[in-house]
């Protein structure tokens, strides 16, 4: 197998790995849904506390989404750096 074919296969495998790395985003979708679901229930029970619940919900969404961002960074490193 010559060098160029090997290089092409390696490049293809890198991209495949980058695509597989994004399966970590499944957990983030579920997590964000749970956070917002709890927040909406809290707001429905107690509309006066809506402001407080909302600001904590934003924090929770950013934290839960961060795990998907870690997976995205791994994927981007595979595409652009390695």
């Amino acid at each position: 197998m010559d060098v160029q074919a090997a290089e092409a296969i390696a490049e293809g495998l890198k991209l495949l790995g980058a695509g597989l790395a994004m399966t970590g985003a499944i957990g983030a979708g579920a997590g964000v849904g749970i956070v917002v679901g709890g927040a909406v229930q809290g707001m429905a029970r107690n509309p006066d506390a809506a402001g407080l619940v909302q600001s904590n919900m934003i924090l929770g969404v950013a934290l839960a989404e961060a795990v998907a961002i870690y997976a995205l960074v791994v994927s981007l490193i595979l595409i652009f750096v390695a």
Binding site: V3, Q4, I58, L59, A62, L63, A66, I69, Y70, L72, V73, L76, I77, F80, V81
Partner: protein, 378 residues
Amino acid sequence: MKKRYWIGICVLGLLLLSFIPGLAPNRPIIQLPGEVLWNWGSKKDFAGGLFGKGFLNTQLAMLVTFVLIFLIAFLAKRSMPKNGEAPQGFWYGFFEMLYEMMYGYVEDAAGKKWAPTFFPYFMTFVLWVVIANWMGLIPGVDSIGKWETYGEYEGHKAEDVVINELRAENGYSYMEAFDKDHHVTFEAVEADVQEQDLGGLRRGIFLVHPRAADINADKIPDPHGRHHTYIGSHPDSADWTLVPYLRPAASDINFTLAVALISVIMTQFYGMKAQGMKYWGKFFTFPAEEISKNPLAILNPVVGLLEFVSEVFKIVSFAFRLLGNIFAGMVLLMVIGSLLPAGNLLFYFLEFGVGALQGVVFALLTLTFMKGATEHHH
């Protein structure tokens, strides 16, 4: 016709125009580290590679962020009323509202005693990170730059031959290859040029072999030089790409790691300031007397170690959360901009929201961790 009909027609016209392939901007070659704008000048690594290969465009963006923040501070100072006058004007009201909101939040979260200590970090992170993120959306950032060949020449090199420059002369391509003792010039052979058309950027592969004159003049050391061939990029079909002068500062791991380190290290500092050396007792415990009361207390050292690892992970978490959001946003804008420029508008709104949110979340989390570090445990 009414003004809003004209606006609608213009937007629709731009949308249709963006479908024409020749009018969409080219997608530049995207790389994760910042792109070098000005090389430091010497061929060897400067200070052992500590400062990289040159001045990066993300560093320039960080300096511009500092200038913007100084401008804001200057405006705030200038809008302060002199003694005895009543405060008035737009900027004073704006800064007063900002300050009251942020300080009120910090005071709610951290208590009156620690609020003055934590507030500078909170406000700094909000201002710094949010402005650094929003700067990536100003027209001209990430799109105005210089046009140059894609810097690296990746070839298969012999072990002690370092390939240094590529020049095009008289239709031939010369490569200057240095090894430890000899200065050797290699000549390019057109033979195997394969060009791939990557959206207007071409990359050709060619083979080089040593020039006959050099072989005869014994300039090429055996055993590597004489019959060796190298594979590299054709200089005529060089990859031309746009290197922007400014790039969002947070798309560089150096920036996000620096801000994360500041946040976590100052948290430990304030924890030690509040509780003295007992702060480290949170992580490293020896439950000699507690085991008699509660046998499960033997797990305390393990829990403490996990907490310590979690502190270190906070640095990684902060850095990669901010980096991932901003870098992915930048890639998204570039790619969608090259495919369907009018569709970039939606992603602009997304980037606007994400930039503000990530800055605020950074500051909020720092505040939470600092508060957690300074309060007394059971």
